[in-house]
Amino acid sequence: MNSFDAFKDPALCRALLARLTEEAVRPLRFMEVCGTHTVAIFQSGLRALLPPTITHVTGPGCPVCVTHESEVACFLDLAGRDDVVLATFGDLMRVPGPKGRNLKTAKADGARVEVVYSPVDALAVAEANPGRTVVFLGVGFETTAPAVAATIRLAREKNLRNFRVLSFHKLVPPALEALLSDPDINVDAFVLPGHVSAVIGAAPYAFVAEKHRVPAVIAGFEPLDILSALRDIVAMREAQAPAVKNGYTRVVSDAGNPVARAVMDEVFAPADALWRGLGSIPRSGLVIREEFADFDAMRLPGVSLVESPPLPGCRCGEVLKGKMAPDQCPLFDKACTPATPVGPCMVSTEGGCAAYHKYRLDL
């Protein structure tokens, strides 16, 4: 067994789970804020095995899902322009906007939309389309933003004048602050996202324990990582000693990745941003700095965020805040299924509604 596979070891998992079940005497609602954790908790079967005292709540950890209605309307408009090619991660293709339109239907109607695996691939699209502006759709958290920033620097090095980024990136710690400041949100602890933390480190979460007295653990994505994070949370709660612990030290250094952060900070500056369900959160987004203005799609003439209403009937906003479980939404598995998604939480494979739907036999 190699050193990484051991994190899936069934014997060790069973032993940890037995220990956790003994220790978790008081009810505990924990929230994860990472789509990969959402999927991992369901896929590994862990959700069904957790002790009855422990409740898993999924939060605003899916970047596609938290992209605001008006941001979706904005990129759909941009895709419709004759002089624009939109390059995007595949997850955004089916996110519904006003009147049920999405990038797939836009493409069927003649819009130029290219799915890329990496923002760097969008540079090749720009090189192949010299007569058009190629706009990369910048959606993602701190894991993704440095990659997009590095791509903008590459575009400048290559003197690519027809490449731009529509930056709708979002930052995790300000969203946690917004959740914790909402008196209606009932969460006892956080499992923190491993790969966001690989970039930002542990320090930006300090307020979770210091100001709000809520324990939190940075965790990896294997069953052992998640079980061990939950044991740490239970121990901190019992000792009434909330802290932010790093349980994913094989990838995350407490200081994060300063090189990635420097690239991100060189290109982007924090700004207020809109989140689906959570509304405007101070300094929770990233805009392109003045020095890179020529690469900013938001500064193209005619591009702006206009108010867009929430999707009729969709309760994604409440799902993303952990106020409602997906299967409590009246449309869940009726009007809204993965084949006929009403909201982004059912579209994205990392969305809470999609995970509930796919694994509901385990519930």
Binding site: A6, C34, S118, P146, S253, V259, A260
Partner: protein
């Protein structure tokens, strides 16, 4: 979309590395990594960039701590 996967480096050419996992190969950029990786290292890959090197020794240490904490035999 936030998915980031560990892949093994098979070749390095300045800022670009070839990586492989389970027969899948890719090229990734090394612009963001904070410690120069070597061939044979595992890196976490996200959106075409390597974001961190995986620390094999730390992984073994963590597993050992789990086992000791549970009084289990070493694997």
């Amino acid at each position: 979309m936030c998915l980031a996967v560990p892949m093994e480096i098979t070749a390095i050419n300045e800022k670009v590395a070839d990586v492989e996992i389970g027969g899948v190969t890719r090229q990734v950029r090394l612009d963001l990594i904070d410690a120069a990786p070597a061939v044979g290292d595992f890196v976490i890959v996200h959106a075409g960039f390597a974001i961190r090197r995986l620390d094999r020794e730390d992984a073994l240490e963590t597993i050992k701590l789990f086992q000791e904490g549970l009084n289990l035999e070493l694997i």
